[in-house]
C-alpha cells in the first residue's frame, strides 16, 4: 500500500508508461513543442528508478530520429518542428541513455551548436535568436556529452565564462541574461555550465550557497527566489547547484524528502509541483531526482556519466536505504 513515507516507484513507472498512450487527448497535441523534452524527462526518470525497459528502445530511437531537421543539422522537439538547442540536447541525452549516439551526425550537430554562439558569449536557442543562460548550458552540456567540448576552446570558452560572470548578481545568484534577477533554475544552469567548463572559481560560493539554502521554506520545500511558493522541481535546481558547490549539508534533507514524497499522486502515479496539484512528467523527474542517483551536472543517470568519464567533483544527498 503506497504511503507518503516512501517513493512509490511502481506507480510512477506506470504513470510514465501511460503518458504516450493518450494520443487522443488535446493536451497531448498542445504539448507537441516539447515532446522531445518530455521523452527525455520520462526516460531519465525511468532509468534512475531502474525501469528503462518500459519505453521500448527502437521505438524511442525512431522517434528521436524522426525529429531530425536536415536543413539545420540538429533536432526539433517534434517531427517537422524547427531545430532547437534544447531539443537537440534532449535528443543527445535520450540516445546516450539508449547507447545509440552513433546515430547522430556529430559534425553537423556541433556546427549547429557553435553557430548559435553569440559575440557576447551567450548562446541563442535557435535561428530566431532568443538568448538565455539556459541555452548556454544546453550548448555546453551537449558538446560535452558528444565528447566535443574541446571545440569550444580558447577565446570562445573565455567569452562563454565571461558572460556567466556578467550574469552574476549582488546576491551571488545568476539570471537568465545580464541584469536579470537571480532565479534558482538559472543558478543551476550557470553553476552546472561552469562545472563542465571547470570554471567554478568565478562563483562566490559562500554568498550563493547562502542564497540557495534560503530557498528552503519551513514546510521543507524549496522555492525559486524570495517570496515565491515551494515547487518540487526546485528540489533539482537548488539541490543540484548545492551538490556541485559541496553545500548539501546546508539543506534540511529530511524535511525536503518528506515534502517531495507528499507531492506524489498515490492513485494515478506521478509527482506534482506541490501536494494536491496535478502530476506531470517534468515534476516526476525532478522529484525523483531529489531522491535517486542522478548526476547533478548533466541531469542524467550517475553511472552513465561516470562511465563516459564526465563525472565532476560533487557531493550529493546521502541516500536513504529502503
Amino acid at each position: 500500500m503506497a504511503s507518503t513515507s516512501q517513493l512509490a516507484i511502481p506507480l510512477h513507472v506506470s504513470y510514465i508508461k501511460a503518458l504516450g498512450d493518450n494520443k487522443d487527448d488535446l493536451a497531448y497535441h498542445l504539448t507537441a513543442h516539447l515532446r522531445m523534452n518530455a521523452v527525455y524527462w520520462g526516460l531519465t526518470a525511468l532509468c534512475i528508478m531502474g525501469h528503462k525497459e518500459v519505453l521500448p528502445r527502437e521505438e524511442t530511437i525512431d522517434f528521436v530520429m524522426s525529429c531530425w531537421d536536415d536543413e539545420a543539422g540538429a533536432f526539433g522537439a517534434h517531427p517537422d518542428h524547427d531545430a532547437h538547442l534544447h531539443s537537440t540536447l534532449s535528443a543527445i541525452q535520450i540516445l546516450l541513455m539508449h547507447d545509440a549516439l552513433d546515430r547522430i551526425d556529430v559534425p553537423r550537430v556541433v556546427k549547429f551548436i557553435l553557430s548559435l554562439h553569440q559575440p557576447s558569449g551567450v548562446f541563442a536557442g535557435d535561428s530566431f535568436g532568443e538568448t538565455d543562460t539556459r541555452f548556454l548550458y544546453c550548448a555546453v552540456s551537449a558538446l560535452s556529452l558528444l565528447g566535443q567540448l574541446h571545440l569550444l576552446d580558447g577565446e570562445a570558452k573565455e567569452r562563454t565564462v565571461n558572460y556567466i560572470v556578467r550574469c552574476r548578481n549582488f546576491d551571488g545568484g545568476f539570471g537568465s541574461v545580464v541584469g536579470a534577477e537571480s532565479h534558482a533554475a538559472q543558478v543551476f544552469v550557470c553553476v552546472a555550465a561552469l562545472a563542465i567548463l571547470d570554471r567554478l572559481d568565478v562563483v562566490d560560493e559562500e554568498t550563493l550557497g547562502w542564497w540557495l539554502c534560503e530557498r528552503q521554506l519551513p514546510n521543507g520545500g524549496l522555492n525559486g527566489r524570495p517570496e515565491k511558493l515551494e515547487d518540487v522541481c526546485y528540489s533539482f535546481w537548488v539541490l543540484s547547484a548545492m551538490a556541485i558547490l559541496g553545500k548539501i549539508p546546508w539543506i534540511d534533507a529530511d524535511k525536503l524528502t518528506a515534502f517531495i514524497l507528499s507531492a506524489q499522486d498515490l492513485e494515478a502515479g506521478g509527482i506534482a509541483d506541490r501536494p494536491g496539484d496535478m502530476a506531470d512528467v517534468f515534476h516526476t523527474l525532478f522529484g525523483v531526482a531529489g531522491l535517486q542517483d542522478l548526476d547533478p551536472v548533466y541531469c542524467m543517470p550517475a553511472d552513465l556519466i561516470e562511465k563516459r568519464g564526465l563525472r565532476k567533483p560533487w557531493k550529493a544527498l546521502e541516500r536513504r536505504t529502503e
Partner: protein, 151 residues
C-alpha cells in the same frame, strides 16, 4: 533617455506589491548597475526607500536584500544601519515590541551579521543560536556548521 521613466516605473510596481522580488532586483540594477548617475542625495534616497518599504512589510526578504546590496556596493559598514535593524530584530525590549511586534528572522539575521562585523562574536552567536533553535529552524544545520567555524 531610455532610462528616464525606469525608476518611476519600478517604484510603481513596488507600491503595487512590496514583495515583488523582480521589481526590487530591477531597481537595484537601474540605480547601481545601469550606468546612470543621480544627484548628491543618491545614497540617502535609497536608504530611505529601503527603510520605508521595510516598515510596510517588515519580514520582506527582497527589501532587506536590497538594503544589504546598498551597503555592499558602496562599501558602507553594516553598523551604519544598526539602530534601524535593532528596531526589527530586538524582541527582548518591551519598548521596541510596542513599535514592531512581528517575529522577524530576516532582521535577526541582519543584526547578527552586524555584531559579527563589529567583532561582537558572542552576541552574534547568541542570535544565530536563537535562529537555529527558534526563529529559523529549517536552517539549523547550516547555522551549527557556521557557529563551529566562527568560534
Amino acid at each position: 533617455d531610455l532610462w528616464a521613466g525606469e525608476l518611476d516605473f519600478v517604484e510603481t510596481i513596488i507600491v503595487q506589491d512590496v514583495r515583488n522580488n523582480s521589481a526590487w532586483h530591477h531597481r537595484f540594477f537601474v540605480v547601481f548597475q545601469s550606468g546612470i548617475r543621480e544627484g548628491a542625495d543618491y545614497d540617502h534616497l535609497n536608504f530611505r526607500f529601503a527603510k520605508q518599504n521595510i516598515s510596510f512589510a517588515a519580514n520582506n526578504p527582497s527589501a532587506w536584500h536590497y538594503l544589504r546590496g546598498i551597503l555592499d556596493i558602496n562599501d558602507i559598514p553594516y553598523s551604519r544601519v544598526e539602530d534601524f535593524v535593532r528596531l526589527y530584530a530586538d524582541t527582548s525590549d518591551d519598548a521596541i515590541r510596542d513599535v514592531v511586534d512581528l517575529e522577524n528572522p530576516v532582521a535577526i539575521e541582519f543584526l547578527a551579521d552586524i555584531h559579527e562585523k563589529e567583532g561582537r562574536i558572542l552576541q552574534a552567536t547568541e542570535l544565530w543560536k536563537s535562529l537555529a533553535d527558534e526563529h529559523d529552524t529549517i536552517r539549523k544545520k547550516i547555522r551549527e556548521g557556521l557557529k563551529s567555524v566562527k568560534q
